[in-house]
Amino acid sequence: MKRLFICAGIFLFVMLSSWMSLRSLEKVTKELDSAALACIESYDKDDGRLYDRLDELMTCWEAYNKKVSFITRSSSLEELAVSVSRLNDLVDNQGGDFRSELNAIIFRADVIYENQRPLPQSIL
């Protein structure tokens, strides 16, 4: 019976930690998305706050990277890391690459989150 209780505890722990990791991923993804959207907004409006917003995005990215590396393949994160690392170089260019790189970050972060959700198409 002791073994049954241990397993019930482990089972609950696994379920709870899976659910919490999903919630945590949702939270950091939303933060990263809104930071990226704020950068796009500042870039489009040219309101002079772009560099501050970019710093905020970098902070969000660090928190995101730290948390998500525990639950997703590192290759998915590498693609995001490459996009984030290019932002500082692209910010002064006027070709629109900065904007598209930010959109790519939002898209990739959303894909990582969607892949973690226990939807029937993901499970099957």
Binding site: R3, I10, V14, F70, S74
Partner: protein, 230 residues
């Protein structure tokens, strides 16, 4: 990255080794012997899942741990359900089948189990039976093993057949291991520290001088002393 990756694999191997030992202990000793169908499935899946995060550093350890722990827990839950329900037990593990009765092979069971004559003879030879007519009863267990009960007249003679023998007498147990008394053994064989001290005095040695000491419930003992006192 090379050195870092090697260290990652090194630490992951340690973590998963510890977790796997814990999991195998959790599933119980049955897992280590003959496999029931469900246990075989669990063992195959666990061994495969454990190696994935070790080999591929792209995969987080959690991706290996979550399925391992989930499968082990499910296995333990299923074993408890099987214990309380015969129907579930039969569904998961199947039921034993009588293959030979009174020396006659049940050919329909042979076909059902897809047993060839070679398989049958091989299993019988494994049980020291070389003539099929010597078999009173042969049963295919749920583990796939064949248990054979030989006809009385073909069974080997035992001491019990020719005279009355004392049914007691457990085998001797290890009492002292490299100078240390094994915990709980003295009470198991019905002895105590006083008896041990008396034996040591009689043999003229200290406990630290003993390499192996075994004793049984009849208080018969055997002592092997350490070589050169090491």
């Amino acid at each position: 990255m090379g050195e870092i990756a090697l260290f990652i694999v090194f630490f992951r191997a340690i973590i998963l080794y510890v977790i796997m030992i814990f999991c195998i202990r959790l599933t119980g000793k049955r897992q280590l012997g003959e496999f029931q169908p469900g246990e075989l499935v669990v063992t195959i899946m666990l061994s495969n899942l454990a190696t994935l995060p070790i080999e591929d550093i792209n995969i987080p350890v959690a991706m290996g741990l979550v399925p391992i722990l989930t499968i082990v827990c499910l296995d333990v839950f299923m074993s408890y359900i099987s214990m309380s329900s015969r129907t579930v037990r039969r569904l998961i593990s199947g039921s034993p089948k009588i293959l030979i009765s009174q020396g006659v092979v049940d050919q329909s069971v042979m076909r059902k189990l897809r047993f060839t004559v070679d398989d049958l003879f091989e299993a019988l030879r494994g049980q020291q039976v070389f003539d099929i007519t010597d078999v009173q009863l042969a049963i295919v267990e749920t583990t796939g093993q064949i248990s054979v009960y030989v006809k009385k007249e073909k069974s080997p003679l035992t001491l019990g057949d020719v005279k009355e023998v004392d049914s007691g007498g457990d085998p001797p147990l290890l009492v002292v291991d490299c100078g240390t008394v094994v915990k709980g053994v003295l009470s198991t064989i019905g002895c105590d520290d006083k008896w041990l001290k008396k034996v040591l005095k009689k043999e003229g040695c200290q406990i630290n001088d003993i390499y192996i000491m075994t004793a049984d419930s009849e208080k018969n003992y055997n002592i092997i002393k350490k070589e050169n006192g090491k």
